[in-house]
Symmetry: C4
């Protein structure tokens, strides 16, 4: 009985851990897919509940569903805490915090009505989806994108700083030129307009009216149109770069010199097929 | 007479099949071009008929044209069914279904007025255009694009999932921040706004009004402006990659020597198909 | 006197031709720059004249300027006709037609008021600017862009056809879904909306209101956001391709086989340093 | 005392110069970071002051802050003038002029109320941020972007000229087609619209209404959507090109054999620095 207990108890936690936290096994993958489905359903519930006509018709039913999903997520969060050995590490990891926020605050939000949109924070649990991508074909692809972005992060930061400075300067100029009566009521609002313009979003909620303002705006648009080439170029060039594996293969394909040193003069870098040392002429 | 019948009947169907379904022969190409012209004309008819002023003036004439084109497409559909041997395969192929929808439902739509815009489904027949692209110069080019997209499809799926999660999270946040009085009347509508923003479309039918909302929107815009680099980079890198054929040609151009040493002089780096040593002339 | 005349007359036309039509000489370049300045000034005049406040204040003066520039362009057109030997070829070339339209129709437009914006057609003369680009640094750069676009033209045509089919199908669907009361008053207008959306321009003059319409619009936006990667990828890949000169240099760097045939067996493709034939073992 | 003065006075200025103008030392870097923080704070003050509600509540306090920052910048400007030896070179450099404009005009703006947004010119001091980028990781990245843009500048100028000509021609056409009643009140305004459209910003403050206008606008959008590929392609191709250093390294990695034949055995492909034949060992 002693040995049965010893074998069973850790084995049960171990097995549960593998199912809940990992996705290498069949059961683990199934768990992840079920969980994702539940997350998608719970997010859909919150989204539908926010539509006033649907809320009026099915509000009570949706509220029950929200209670149900919140309960489910709470149980799941507790299960995760129980089965993992590194409880604190999990609780304070990004995913752990998001998991927690999908339970406690959600319950609070349900109790104090008016804040139930806080439930939507569980949308972030969808990020868990990327764990599934770790399986099969998606591994390399996801890593490829992340690697390219990571390798480009300094370039992108430099670029964003330049864009930010540009929008502050242009926003301030437009505030001076157009003024409040044309919607440029403050510098922050004008900077917001500059960002809307330089990113080519162009809502049109604020737009220049004076000739000078439109000229400056045109300049900003053309700059925005042109400088989008910079991040695109950065990432394209990064992605077009041979991957580490490919680079190694390419390096292997280039004929390399024989590195064994000549016994006479210690010279290296002989032709692969050299019979004599290129420096001292001694047979190799 | 027996042999004449045997020769003629299958020959007639065979020839019709080659004309209607294939486009390698002169007649087949001509058939495709005539068909495409008729499709373009019929689509133009439906489009013009939907313009109220034109409808008021030439409605009767356009209705006749629509009947005529529908009849023509019905006959063409029946002809296709007759001449092909794999009738079911055709009928349930994508092109077959589109061909069918251009006949039956169109007739129904004409009878029950008010739904005649269903005729526009025949626009999809324009996709047949790509079959013509299979000829001449377009073969490689079309395949090039499709290959690049196909090779990038997992990367693009990962990317789209990330963008979707981003828009749901941002949309929900904006719903909480801006609220219904500024147009963010529900989470689905806010997510729609987030998609409009992140793709830099920016209708301006909904736009943030509060300082916090505009700040968050600015962040989303800059992200959208930046992450467009990702699909572009993916496809650019894919297209910049040597095609399989080009890679094979390049590999063939690089001489790969046989490394086994000559037993006479120990020389290596022989041609892969060498029978004699290049240095001492001994048989390998 | 005879010889003086013979030498002078063709020499005068010849020299004028070199100045007016070519830009290799100092005088020719100066002529082009002066001409471009005059074109820019005349376009500016027409543009300013179209602004109602400026027109009210300086209309008479601007009208005199327009007469002056029109006269100048007419004289220049006649001069071009006189000095060139291939008069018809020039008159019916693109630049020749644009030059003509800057004179005759402009005069007509000035006489029949109300149509003086026809003068703006001379904006097209700015295209002459590209001739100046033929000088110095701009040669290679301009050719580089044009070459890349030319090499990509079939790919771009395939791409545009696909986009056009997409916008017609989506426009028709939106016409059926949203209908006239939300601005989608006809299929052509809905197709216009689809183009505004897929290109991420997004005026917002027409925008979907129903849930289904907004969902479909979101799909179209994401597609537009994604497929912009295709033309960008095409042109990037084309531009990243080694130029012909660079490719030749690269090919020269790859070690090639000795092509001289073996006198015994006519085998070629020997190692560059082979002493014996790889096929028959005979000394080379 | 003589030597003490000689050692101290220049030493003091020298040390101050290194701190204020350079950022290689620890103190210099600290100075830059403090200065940037002050610039950011002063810009934030001006921005907040422009928001009417904040201005109403904290206007007096913000005005005091603005006086304080202006005083600080004036002192810093004088300090820079004192410690540098090349006073004129600094005063008329770009950064020097911006530094000056952050003091004098700011004071003037504070005295003559209504123009205090001139203070915002100090936003340009943020450009100083790029000096900090000169440190560490950012060196290469910043230079990389600037190099790529510099190498592409002629291509980009050719491109921008083409886009400008296109927008003037299209703007004029739209002015003729749509006319003042649909917002195209003048040619400059129509050109502004064309720029808004071709850059895919699409405010929607002016948008075509007639069928012909919408058709032309659609054409312009598709062109804008397509030609954005050009600058992106230019920069991508430029960035994907191996940098000069990388190219040199790659070239060094490929063994370039000496082709001169050995006089003893006629062997070629010796190491470039070989003294003896690799095959027969004879001196070369």
């Amino acid at each position: 009985m002693d040995s049965r207990l010893r074998d069973t108890t850790p084995g049960w936690k171990e097995r549960a851990y593998i199912i809940i936290f990992e996705s290498d096994t069949h059961a683990g993958r199934l768990y992840d897919i079920v969980l994702l489905t539940v997350i998608v359903l719970s997010v859909a519930t919150v989204m539908l509940d926010s539509v006033s006509t649907i809320n009026a018709a099915y509000g009570a039913f949706l509220r029950v569903l929200e209670w149900f999903f919140t309960l489910l997520f709470t149980l799941e969060y507790l299960a995760r805490l129980v089965v993992t050995r590194r409880k604190l590490a999990y609780a304070f990891s990004w995913l752990g915090i998001i998991d927690f926020l999908s339970t406690g605050p959600a319950l609070a939000a349900l109790v104090f009505s008016g804040g139930h949109y806080l439930l939507a924070i569980r949308t972030l649990r969808l990020l868990r989806m990327f764990r599934i991508f770790k399986l099969g074909k998606f591994v390399g692809e996801g890593e490829f994108i992340v690697d390219a972005l990571k390798a480009s992060r300094f370039k992108i930061m430099v670029f964003l700083t330049a864009v930010l400075t540009l929008t502050i300067v242009m926003g301030t100029l437009m505030y001076a030129i157009e003024g409040g009566e044309h919607g440029f009521t403050s510098i922050p609002k004008s900077v917001y307009w500059a960002i809307v313009t330089v990113t080519t979003v162009g809502y049109g909620d604020i737009s220049p009216v004076t000739i000078l303002g439109q000229t400056l705006a045109s300049l900003l648009m053309v700059m925005g149109y042109g400088i989008i080439a910079v991040p695109t170029g950065i990432v394209s060039a990064q992605m077009a770069m041979p991957t580490r594996a490919a680079a190694a293969a390419a390096a292997a394909a280039i004929p390399t010199y024989k590195m064994a040193a000549c016994q006479g003069c210690q010279a290296t870098n002989h032709r692969p097929d050299a019979a004599f040392c290129w420096r001292c002429g001694q047979p190799l």
